[in-house]
């Protein structure tokens, strides 16, 4: 039987506010346990929450970035359950009146097509603390530094139909929240956490199958593996005539295994009700506009601009626009290098390959966009050949000098483009190779002729000590041999 895969995502995004959503405690990662937990975070008797305006601003920025309606009346609810790292015995979240309503994100797929994934809503809520089960000799340690960190939980419609699409969406979302500055994007610290809802249905069927939820995937690789694993698990069950149980599952990426965490029947009755300590928050036009003013250029907007302004193709424009830092590097290079297409080739080619090889991000690169741009400019104006340029790049990367011109000078990589001098060299070389000249001139096939030009280039480069402009040599040769 053929199956359709149906995937929806829930993403917890930690907002990059300085302080917590309902208290003034710092949200910085990595402090000593419980040093960033105030009386409010500890849920001491009588303490009360006070909402952090910046968390609302960030949530609205997210809403605007995904083309969503903004909830004008944002209401907090209490989600009741007992757990030691949940100090109040309830999580403050939003159920019926979330701050971000329906929106969408367009994703680009490997085959060049694009797809729209709808956002159902996104709501503001507080993160819980951490339970530390190791190192306490049969006891559990509680660290409440994370308790009260602001989150938005983004819930998509079940619009993705493969692991590729889900991962493409996840990466797009990661790039979006990082580039608009509302999340630090550090997945290793749990700044983005993905829950994946998966179901299968017979190919073409309109009816959705029973879904499972796989929780807390914090890398794209684990997410891809977890989806593949769960699709296979469900397919095996369905093809054996079994039924999928609606449940929450945990995936172990190290072992590529999953296990049931709890079934629907075991699920808590969370007894949601509006939090009486927090009044409804009204989001007015002025607030929305002030949030809009804070939005930097979004990746989709940037991609369109790159195509328009620099004449880049869709693929290059996407690769250069997704990550704001790469985009900035590219634009810095263009400002020096003039030739945008050539700059794009160098950023996506030599430069990216070097970053990958050394496992570095763009901000860790030892060269700047303007340094690369100067080199691109020298390629464009024929000062240096492309093979010479690679040597210049190498020297820049290694810090031999801080600009391309100095390296070209020091290493003697400057091309000779003086046509008088080049013509003289061509005359001399052709004079020394009469047989080859004759062969060339007798050849009727222009393709074979073109090939034969290579035989003259070696001696010409030798004569020019490698500094002759190959393009000009070529032009002169064709003219002299043909004439």
């Amino acid at each position: 039987m053929q199956w359709d895969i149906v995937i929806g995502l829930e993403i917890h995004v930690q907002l990059a506010t300085k302080t917590k959503i309902f208290s003034g405690s710092s949200t910085a990662f990595g402090a000593e346990p419980n040093t960033q937990a105030s009386a409010v975070d500890l849920a001491m008797p009588g303490t009360l929450p006070v909402p952090n305006e910046q968390a609302f601003r960030y949530a609205v920025m997210f809403g605007l970035a995904v083309n969503a309606e903004i909830g004008r009346r944002s209401v907090f609810d209490r989600k009741n359950y007992f757990y030691p790292d949940l100090p109040k015995g309830y999580q403050t979240t939003q159920l019926d009146h979330p701050i971000v309503g329906p929106g969408f994100v367009d994703i680009d797929l490997e085959d060049g097509s694009s797809k729209r994934v709808r956002i159902h809503h996104a709501h503001l809520e507080e993160d819980a603390g951490k339970s530390l089960h190791e190192d306490f000799d049969g006891m559990t340690g509680i660290d409440l530094n994370r308790a009260g960190t602001p989150l938005i939980e983004i819930v998509t419609e079940p619009d993705m139909n493969s692991a590729e699409e889900a991962v493409a969406f996840a990466k797009k979302l990661h790039s979006l929240v990082s580039s608009i500055g509302i999340c630090d994007g550090d997945m290793s610290q749990g700044s983005l956490r993905f829950d994946v809802n998966i179901s299968l249905k017979p190919k073409g069927s309109d009816e959705l199958g029973t879904r499972t939820e796989t929780k807390n995937l914090n890398s794209f690789r684990f997410m891809e593996q977890a989806i593949a694993h769960e699709v296979e698990r469900q397919m095996d069950i369905l093809e054996d005539g079994g039924r999928i149980i609606q449940e929450t599952r945990l995936y172990n990426g190290e072992r590529d295994e999953s296990r049931s965490m709890r079934s629907k029947e075991e699920a808590n009755d969370y007894r949601y009700f509006p939090c009486p300590d927090l009044l409804p928050v009204v989001i007015d036009d002025a607030f929305i506009e002030s949030a809009r003013d804070l939005l930097p250029e979004l990746p989709d907007e940037r991609k369109a601009r790159f195509k328009e302004q620099y004449g880049l193709n869709d693929y290059d424009a996407r690769l250069l626009s997704d990550d704001a830092r790469i985009a900035a590097f590219f634009e810095e290079a263009v400002s020096q290098g003039k030739d945008a297409k050539l700059a794009a080739n160098w950023v996506l080619g030599e430069f990216s390959a070097r970053l990958n090889a050394e496992d570095k991000t763009v901000v860790q690169a030892p060269i700047t966009g303007s340094q690369l741009g100067q080199l691109v400019a020298r390629i464009a104006d024929n000062t240096v050949s492309s093979s010479g340029a690679k040597k210049v790049f190498e020297a820049l990367w290694n810090g031999d000098a801080d600009n391309a011109d100095a390296i070209i000078e020091a290493q003697g990589l400057k091309q000779v483009s003086d046509t008088g001098a080049l013509e003289q060299m061509v005359d001399e070389v052709l004079a020394g190779m009469p047989d080859q000249v004759a062969q060339y001139q007798e050849e009727a096939d222009p393709k074979k002729q073109k090939k034969m030009l290579g035989g003259f280039m070696g001696p010409l480069m030798k004569a020019s000590k490698g500094q002759g402009n190959p393009k000009l040599f070529n032009e002169i040769l064709v003219r002299k041999l043909g004439g």
Partner: protein
């Protein structure tokens, strides 16, 4: 000195006739000698009080005194006091010493008042008789002569009894469904529940967040005004607190009442009220007519639904508010829990008393899947209608007047076996909390030698008008000056 009001004591201190240390000593001695029979205090902070009094005397000597500098008072044990046990009347918090002050506590500290200790209360403010306290019942100073121990009302029973017994001239209190007004009425003292949002709730241990309001209790309306001057105001730590200018509540006490429009809600003069009680209330209204007020009957048609709505909303909020008492971070923890579930269930089973558990169960039930719409949502709709009743009534009149309670102080133990009878104690006070409007209880006579309270209800943020009305009444009556035998 102990029969004097806050205003009088402040003047005595200012004149130099007595020092704060002497005054504080006098009240502390009274507490020591007399409170055995009332049990109105849970904690007496003698050393701290004397130290604070000494500081107050120094401030006054340096010419830096305010009205409250050096005046003794007490806090209901629901207000967190930095470094002093704050129990909320519960075993759950019997060992709890907060490392922070409630905003109300900090305000009195800043005003230079001398806190003598923490007054007894129903556990987590849940009760109308002060019999649910883990620290024992409080006895009403009134009615002891016929050999029966009567309740002081609740939940602020300790504050009311302490003031009536002249152990303190004033005490803070809280009111969720009548917990200031009912004990004030039963103990013959004057109490004010302000508008919801007028006084910060930060550091005031929550029972039902949308109803809880800190307020004042003293012998006179003037002293209530002096207290509210310290307590009222916006607090950035409580976002349900209203950012609105605070008047000097003493400034308008002497305004004449001529033309004051009084409404008598007919639903509050029902057959639940004994004829003797009704007579006292009507006598009080007559005094107001003599002072130039006009009186008409009004209706609060949905007021009869108040108790039912309240006993869904308040327990629902409480069920979540009390979840934090889990034995993990502070407060009571059961011995040797064998696992997490055992820690939770035994801590809460052993740490909470019967009435608290009853309300947590009721609230949990009302919020459960399948019941939420029929109980919680419906109760919120009723609440909206009750608010509308008050809004409509205040289009016609300036204040509403009614009894505070259906009957005077009852004998201890009389209603403990029947929670619903106990809940009916608050039949005239609860709607006010659901609406969020301010209301006072003012001593207005006696039935069988026991005090009767007149309830004066005002429109939102019209505390000054209530205090003015109460003060003027106290200029022509002396019910508030009567002493228990």
């Amino acid at each position: 000195m102990h029969n004097k009001s806050v205003a009088e004591l402040s003047r005595e201190l200012e004149s130099g006739k007595i020092s704060s240390v002497e005054l504080t000593r006098e009240f502390l001695d009274r507490i020591k000698a007399e409170d055995r029979q009332y049990n109105s205090f849970i904690t007496v902070t003698e050393d701290q009080a004397l130290a604070d009094a000494k500081t107050a005397d120094e401030q006054r000597a340096a010419g830096k005194a305010s009205v409250w500098t050096g005046v003794p008072f007490a806090h209901k044990d629901i207000f967190c006091t930095n470094g002093v046990a704050t129990t909320c009347g519960s075993k759950m918090l019997a060992n709890f010493v907060p490392p922070y002050d409630a905003t109300v506590t900090a305000n009195f500290r800043a005003a230079g008042a001398v806190c003598l200790g923490k007054t007894n209360m129903d556990e987590f403010a849940m009760g109308s008789s002060n019999e649910s306290s883990f620290f024992g019942a409080v006895t009403n100073p009134w009615g002891l002569n016929n050999g029966e121990k009567r309740v002081p009302g609740g939940s602020s029973g300790g504050s009311a009894a302490a003031i009536a017994a002249r152990l303190v001239p004033a005490a803070t209190a809280t009111d969720t469904g009548g917990s200031i007004r009912q004990p004030a009425a039963l103990c013959g003292v004057t109490g004010l529940k302000p508008t919801y949002g007028r006084v910060s709730r930060y550091g005031m241990i929550a029972f039902a967040s949308s109803l809880d309001q800190g307020g004042t209790m003293a012998r006179t309306a003037e002293d209530n005004a002096l207290m509210l001057n310290v307590m009222a105001g916006f607090d950035p730590k409580d976002c349900t607190c209203v950012d609105r200018a605070v008047p000097d509540y003493t400034a308008t006490l002497d305004e004449p009442l001529k033309g004051l429009r009084i409404g008598l809600p007919k639903e509050y003069f029902s057959d639940q009220l004994s004829p003797a009680m009704e007579q006292q209330v009507r006598n009080a209204v007559k005094e107001y007519e003599k002072l130039g007020a006009t009186v008409k009957e009004v209706s609060l048609p949905r007021a009869k639904l108040a108790i039912a709505a309240y006993y869904v909303i308040a327990p629902a909020e409480a069920s979540a508010n009390l979840s934090r008492f889990d034995g993990v971070r502070y407060g009571y923890r059961c011995d040797n829990p064998k696992d997490l579930n055992d820690l939770y269930t035994r801590t809460r089973a052993e740490g909470f008393g019967g009435e608290v558990k009853r309300r947590i169960l009721v609230g949990t039930y009302a919020l459960s899947a399948g019941y939420f719409d029929a109980y919680y949502l419906k109760a919120q709709k009723v609440r909206r209608l009750i608010q509308q009743d008050f809004v409509n009534a205040f289009k016609e009149v300036d204040v509403l007047m009614s009894p505070v309670t259906p009957s005077p102080a009852f004998v201890q133990g009389e209603k403990t076996s029947d929670p619903v009878t106990m809940y009916l104690e608050d039949v005239f006070t609860i709607a006010v909390n659901l609406a969020g409007v301010p209301a006072m209880s003012v001593p207005a006579g006696f039935v069988d030698g026991l005090p009767v309270g007149l309830q004066i209800i005002g429109n939102y943020f019209e505390e000054a008008r209530l205090l003015n009305a109460a003060h003027q009444y106290q200029q022509v009556t002396d019910w508030h000056q009567k002493l228990p035998q």
